[in-house]
């Protein structure tokens, strides 16, 4: 473990390599580009490969191919690039291929894309939303392990602030990647009568008939997603929820500012609580219900038109009113630098919904 002052993109790249990632493919796009630059520099030093793909479509394809061999692999982009990858991300779930996918997002409008409905079909994948580079570094190896454990893509949700802020982080020592799982391809089972298959349409060769049995396969995938959802402990951070009349929720980078605003209000004697989901999927439903147990309102701040707000409503099942206090806040660049992210602004926003 080494403590270093690193810009977020570099910290994320160092953490990926430290966690055993040995293949990365990406396409330049702000604010993800620097991660690609750092991986291009770092991976060859550890015998890995970084490819500048011809588009985001090919980046996720190359990462899929590398991951299929049991190599710890990752790809990423920003929201628009992730949009291009969606068919593959959905299909990676039914192909049971582990992969780390990084969204260095612009603002927070990609919550829906990340947690559901980015792609077609019935699929979910674990989504982690660190609040800063330090948390992203701490979550990186667990993210790869989740991907391997459940044989699924895992999405790590960062943003412009995380990518371009320098922070003191604890970079873990580099570990070797684990050996490939017995599902991984390397050619060697050819001719055995049981040559391996890795496919989004089915996972075994049929000898009784020809063609894939999609009904059977998708049922099994659905069961797997269910088991995964139940098998992952949701993660969150909370502050002052024991006596909160109003619980304020936020996620990702804005969470830091909202937490500071809540602290300030608490110092003034207001009974305000704070809850920040770290796993956006599985969403910490039980924690949200518990935190809002005695509250009269849950206020949600996000830099979008209200997306996590839906999940909060779903978690509370109508027991406590939910109010969206966020909104799209961008500077002229559109990259997600939010004029609203000032503690004073957020204090005011929260005060507007506090009881008199």
């Amino acid at each position: 473990m080494t403590r270093r002052l690193l810009e977020g993109s570099e910290a994320v790249a160092e953490a990926m390599v430290a966690a055993g990632c040995r293949f990365f493919a990406g396409y330049p796009m702000t604010p993800f580009t620097e991660v690609l630059e750092h991986m291009a520099r770092l991976l060859p030093e550890y015998g890995g490969t970084c490819i500048n793909a011809e588009s985001e479509l090919e980046a996720v394809g190359m990462a899929w191919g590398a991951a299929a061999t049991g190599t710890r692999s990752a790809t990423g982009s920003t929201g628009q690039g992730l949009s291009l990858m969606q068919e593959s991300l959905s299909e990676l779930v039914s192909a049971h291929v582990p992969l780390l996918v990084l969204n260095m997002a612009r603002a927070q409008g990609d919550y829906f894309q990340a947690t559901r409905g980015g792609g077609h079909g019935d699929y979910r994948m674990p989504v982690l939303a660190p609040k800063d580079a330090a948390e992203a570094v701490d979550l990186m190896r667990p993210a790869f392990e989740l991907a391997d454990r459940w044989r699924t893509p895992v999405l790590m949700f960062g943003d412009y602030y995380l990518a371009h802020t320098a922070q003191s982080v604890d970079v873990p020592d580099v570990v070797d990647p684990p050996p490939p799982g017995d599902w991984a391809l390397d050619g060697s089972t050819g001719g055995s009568g049981h040559a391996k298959l890795l496919s989004p349409l089915g996972d075994h060769k049929r000898r009784d008939d020809v063609g894939y049995d999609l009904q059977e396969h998708y049922r099994r995938v659905a069961r797997g997603v269910q088991e995964m959802t139940e098998g992952i402990e949701p993660m969150w951070e909370e502050l002052g929820t024991e006596d909160a009349e109003v619980v304020v929720m936020a996620w990702g980078t804005p969470g830091r500012y909202v937490r500071a605003a809540v602290r300030e209000l608490r110092e003034r004697g207001r009974k305000v609580g704070f809850l920040r989901p770290v796993t956006l999927y599985p969403f910490p439903d039980a924690a949200v219900q518990q935190a809002a147990k005695n509250a009269r309102l849950v206020a949600v701040y996000e830099n979008n038109q209200g997306q996590m707000t839906d999940d909060v409503r779903l978690a509370l099942e109508g027991r406590v009113p939910v109010r969206f206090i966020g909104g799209l806040s961008l500077d002229h660049s559109g990259f997600g630098i939010a004029p609203d992210l000032e503690v004073a602004t957020l204090v005011q926003r929260i005060e507007e919904v506090l009881p008199a």
């Binding site: 394809g61 061999t69 040559a195 298959l197 890795l198 020809v210 063609g211």
Partner: protein, 267 residues
């Protein structure tokens, strides 16, 4: 040995010969698990797949091979071969093949894609994979139609060819011109071996196998190779199975000309 059927004296072909004889060709090659498939009568794709797996076995690559399948009628073979198979999405096999080969350079990686998959959906992928000189082999099964969806225009459909969405025949004014992909790929420095062949008669099947063998050897020597195999699709061409071989020669092969387009190692 002889029996009578429909007024003819024919040989009893229900059982192996009862005089000393050598088996020279079994029903299915060793690497195809089950010979039954739901592809149309007279389809050229199983013929091409057979040649492909025979070439893999003959070169001793069976335990190194990973076949990356695209999406089309031929996908029926993806869970029916006794080599390791990675199933890709429509058009995406070359990028997956790239990832596999870069992560495991000792493997033998071949994509199996149709013309719709490779030249329409995935044109960018195959061009860039060739340009980068990835040590993989991309194989196109070209029948000039999107077969699996019923027989529609692709980028390789030839002028005059009738398809479900060019019922009067493809014309340049409304539908543009076909892309002769092998010729385009041959212009890329990163492509080492590029060939076209067909499976419409036994001689051509033998040539197909030779080109595949050469392509595989080029890959094992570190180069990118590409083989386009013209296949019959009587269903997509609206013709009888018996007429498909001649239709292939007269129409598809007249435009997508068979032969070795480029062999960088041999000049």
């Amino acid at each position: 040995m002889m029996i009578e059927r429909e007024g003819l004296q024919v040989i009893d072909t229900a059982t192996p010969p009862d005089v000393p004889a050598r088996l020279v060709d079994d029903f299915t090659p060793e690497l195809i698990d089950v010979g039954t498939h739901g592809l149309c009568p007279g389809c050229g794709e199983p013929i091409a797949v057979r040649a492909l797996v025979e070439a893999i076995a003959e070169l001793g690559l069976t335990q190194k091979a990973i076949a990356v399948f695209g999406i089309g009628c031929y996908t029926a073979f993806s869970n029916n071969l006794d080599v390791e198979v990675l199933q890709a999405l429509h058009g995406r096999a070359p990028s997956l093949a790239t990832g596999v080969k870069r992560a495991r350079p000792g493997t033998f990686v071949v994509t199996v894609q149709g013309d719709g998959d490779m030249v329409n959906e995935g044109l960018q992928e195959v061009l860039h994979t060739a340009a980068r000189g990835e040590a993989v082999t991309c194989v196109m099964l070209n029948n000039g139609v999107f077969g699996e969806t019923g027989g529609h225009l692709t980028a390789t459909t030839v002028l005059g060819q009738r398809t479900k969405n060019t019922l009067e025949g493809r014309n340049a004014h409304d539908h543009g011109y076909p892309i002769l992909l092998a010729d385009v790929i041959a212009t890329l420095e990163g492509a080492s071996f590029v060939a076209r062949c067909a499976v419409n008669d036994a001689g051509n099947v033998a040539r197909t196998k030779r080109h595949l063998t050469r392509a595989f050897e080029v890959q094992m020597a570190g180069g990118f190779s590409f083989v386009e195999i013209l296949t019959m699709c009587p269903t997509g061409w609206f013709i009888d199975t018996l007429d498909a071989p001649d239709y292939l020669s007269g129409n598809l092969a007249a435009v997508h000309a068979p032969g070795v387009v480029k062999d960088a190692a041999r000049g």
